[in-house]
Symmetry: C2
């Protein structure tokens, strides 16, 4: 049962209501311990200015969302690789604990998921070379298999950790996973792969809930406690494996939470984030 | 590139347009080689009468949909187990190659997916005892992880095959898997698990396509060729592993194929089933 100071607000949770400055102020006002900006919010506010504002608070930056999309142009173009370098740079500027990677789905017109996965691994290798230089950890986020086609062809913890082992066999902590309960709760191998990941690979922990029924593949995530995920059980497993970071709340909810007063959303997050997780 | 005779019509594909008799006539008229009824269609037409009509044709019965739902009442009640026995009986009556099992998701009010999975394995064991007596193969259908909450907590081929190995270590063919490309195409372990399954465990092969975007979690499946699944590649893998049954076409499509003239649907299935798979 984490205290509010153990929670972090992913800006996607109130993305329709607040800009980054409002998110930061909201976190401070509510005693929430961390923030994880999306890059659109960061660019809108200006990276340097945002870094300055965040550093004036005690907020941890649990991650920057997001790099990746290696498959977007069908090959590892300069455009794709440079964009990822910029993302690493921005993560460094705001002192993010990691850069979260949504790796990309199938390339346009392709049905070859093996090729997509190879492209992703190659692309992550390039980004990691740069990330090592400026010491920004890269967190691969395995996305739910329902996003394999259009968002991320890395869909399980095992797969993400296999890539980590290939690119960083020493387990230095420079590459690891962002474990989001929404994406992985169903996985029969979840417990064993969390143990396998251990402290050095568990770079972020995201929470929300899986609603039954779920009415949209993308923007119908639930508030913790409103769905069927054993969030507390998974949190205890990642903590037993050595993770001691914040619980980052990331809820895409077009018809519910994005429609509400954002202070009510943060109050609910504190209540549920403490009781249900 | 299978011929129409290598295709089977799952009645769900035209469930809004045709009853079972019309499906059977349609298959015969179009030269489609097999049929796989859902139990609601079978009951509507009468099991004995349906068995008689099917036997008057040359149609193979590639499966009966469906048994399972072991988690529906929170424990293995007589109701749940008897219903599965009835399903096995009906599969025998119509000469189905297998009874397809959708095993059930979380029990109502539960967040314990481990418990659900144990219940399912226990339930399958009971049904298998009966199925062995009357020699009806049981095909566990791993469902896409997006159904883990409310339909099936068996979500990968590996998981289904682990259950098969536990219940039938000799690999007699009395229990195996129904491999539906829609549910498993994303799985990084798909190729290795198809090989592991081999001829004795590959009891059914279902095709349709994954649309990008997918607008509904349940009833927005695509016609072969309209989505991103490498259906041909997967078919070649199951055939290389020893499967030599029909390709069963099962498309839930509320806004497209369920709205069309069913003869047009069957024509399209033949065209796509031959070209795209």
């Amino acid at each position: 049962m984490p205290s509010p100071a153990k929670l972090s607000l992913n800006t996607a949770t109130v993305r329709e209501q607040w800009n980054l400055k409002e998110c930061i102020d909201g976190c401070v006002r509510h005693g929430i311990g961390g923030i994880a900006p999306w890059r659109d919010k960061l660019h809108e506010a200006g990276v340097e200015e945002s870094a300055r504002i965040i550093k004036d608070t005690d907020l941890s930056v649990t991650g920057l969302c997001r790099g990746g999309w290696y498959t977007a142009e069908g090959s590892l173009t300069d455009n794709v690789l440079d964009e990822n370098k910029r993302a690493v740079d921005e993560a460094a500027q705001i002192g993010a604990a990691c850069l979260v990677m949504v790796v990309g789905g199938l390339s346009k017109g392709s049905r070859n998921i093996h090729a997509a996965r190879q492209l992703v691994e190659d692309g992550l290798g390039h980004t990691l070379d740069f990330a090592r230089q400026i010491k920004v950890p890269i967190a691969i986020e395995p996305l739910h298999p329902m996003y394999a086609g259009d968002r991320a062809c890395v869909n399980t913890m095992r797969q993400a950790l296999d890539i980590c082992d290939a690119l960083d066999p020493e387990g230095t902590g420079i590459i690891g996973v962002a474990c989001d309960v929404y994406h992985v709760w169903w996985d029969p191998e979840l417990s064993s792969q969390i143990k396998r990941a251990g402290k050095s690979r568990l770079l972020a922990f995201h929470v929300c809930d899986w609603l039954v029924p779920t009415n949209d593949l993308l923007v119908d995530r639930g508030m913790m406690g409103d769905g069927v995920i054993d969030i507390r059980g998974i949190r205890q497993e990642v903590e037993a494996a050595g993770f001691n970071g914040l619980n980052e709340v990331e809820i895409f909810s077009a018809k519910n939470w994005w429609q509400r007063d954002p202070d009510e959303v943060l109050e609910t997050i504190k209540d549920r984030g403490c009781k249900a997780t």
